[in-house]
C-alpha cells in the first residue's frame, strides 16, 4: 500500500484503496484474493506481494 499511496499523492490520476480482505470477504472473493498483499490496478493488472518501485510503476503503466 505504501507505494500506491505515494503514487496517489504524486498524481491526481491515481487513487489508492486499501481493503481489509477478511472484513470484505465478498470483495476479496470476487478479486480471487488467495494471498496478501494482493494488488489490483484498474481491475486489469494484478499481482501478489510487494514489488520494488520500478516494477510497481511498470504494472501501473500496463494498466492504463
Amino acid at each position: 500500500m505504501r507505494l500506491a499511496q505515494h503514487m496517489a499523492v504524486a498524481s491526481e490520476r491515481v487513487t489508492a484503496t486499501a481493503i481489509e480482505a477478511t472484513e470484505f470477504p465478498e470483495l476479496a472473493r470476487s478479486y480471487r484474493v488467495m494471498a496478501v498483499p494482493k494488488i489490483v490496478i484498474n481491475d486489469r493488472v494484478e499481482f501478489e506481494g510487494a514489488l520494488p518501485e520500478p516494477q510497481f510503476l511498470d504494472a501501473v503503466l500496463r494498466a492504463v
Binding site: Q5, M7, A16, I19, E23, A28, K38, V40, E53, V60
Partner: protein
C-alpha cells in the same frame, strides 16, 4: 510493527471501552507524526445497521490515532445512508471506510479497520497527505506526471 490488531497480545480493541493502542504504539506513532506538516483530515464512514461493531472499532482507532497528531489531524464521522452526497463524492460505497485527506483529496481510502499490517500504512498515508511530498524517484514521478488515463490501485491485505 504495531499491535493494534484484533487478536494476539497487546491492545485488542475488541472490548468496548478498551484502547486499541498501547503505550508503545502511541510512542511510536507520536514519533512518526513529527513528520506531519500541514493538516490532515480523516473522514470516517460508519453505518451502525450495516457493520456496527466494525464501524465503532474503526472510529475508535481513528480517533486514537488522530489524538496523537498534536492538533494536526481532525476526524469527521459520516453515515453514507444520511450523508449520501458526501459518500458519493468520495466514492465510498462500503463501511467501515476512512478517507485520508490533505490539502486536497489525494484519493487515499481505507476499507475496513486499518490494524496490523495496514496500521503502518495509515500512519504513512497521513504523513504523505500532510506533506504532499511523496517519497518516489524522479523517474517514477515523471512517468506518473505523463499518465494518459486514470489509475485505481486496490491493495488487499489482512490484519496479520
Amino acid at each position: 510493527m504495531s499491535r493494534c490488531g484484533r487478536s494476539g497480545e497487546g491492545a485488542t480493541g475488541i472490548i468496548d471501552g478498551m484502547a486499541f493502542l498501547n503505550d508503545r504504539d502511541r510512542a511510536a506513532v507520536r514519533q512518526e507524526f513529527e513528520k506531519l506538516a500541514g493538516p490532515v483530515k480523516l473522514i470516517v464512514f460508519s453505518q451502525e445497521l450495516v457493520a456496527g461493531d466494525l464501524c465503532r472499532q474503526n472510529e475508535q482507532l481513528i480517533q486514537e490515532v488522530a489524538e496523537l497528531a498534536d492538533g494536526k489531524a481532525t476526524v469527521e464521522v459520516l453515515n453514507p445512508a444520511i450523508d449520501r452526497e458526501r459518500a458519493e463524492a468520495y466514492g465510498v460505497d462500503q463501511v467501515p471506510a476512512t478517507v485520508v485527506e490533505g490539502s486536497r483529496d489525494y484519493g487515499l481510502r481505507f476499507y475496513g479497520i486499518p490494524s496490523g499490517y495496514e496500521f503502518g500504512n495509515l500512519i504513512d498515508a497521513m504523513i504523505v497527505a500532510s506533506t504532499g511530498e511523496p517519497q518516489l524517484s524522479e523517474a517514477t514521478r515523471a512517468s506518473l506526471a505523463a499518465l494518459a488515463g486514470d489509475v485505481e490501485i486496490k491493495v488487499f491485505s489482512t490484519p496479520t
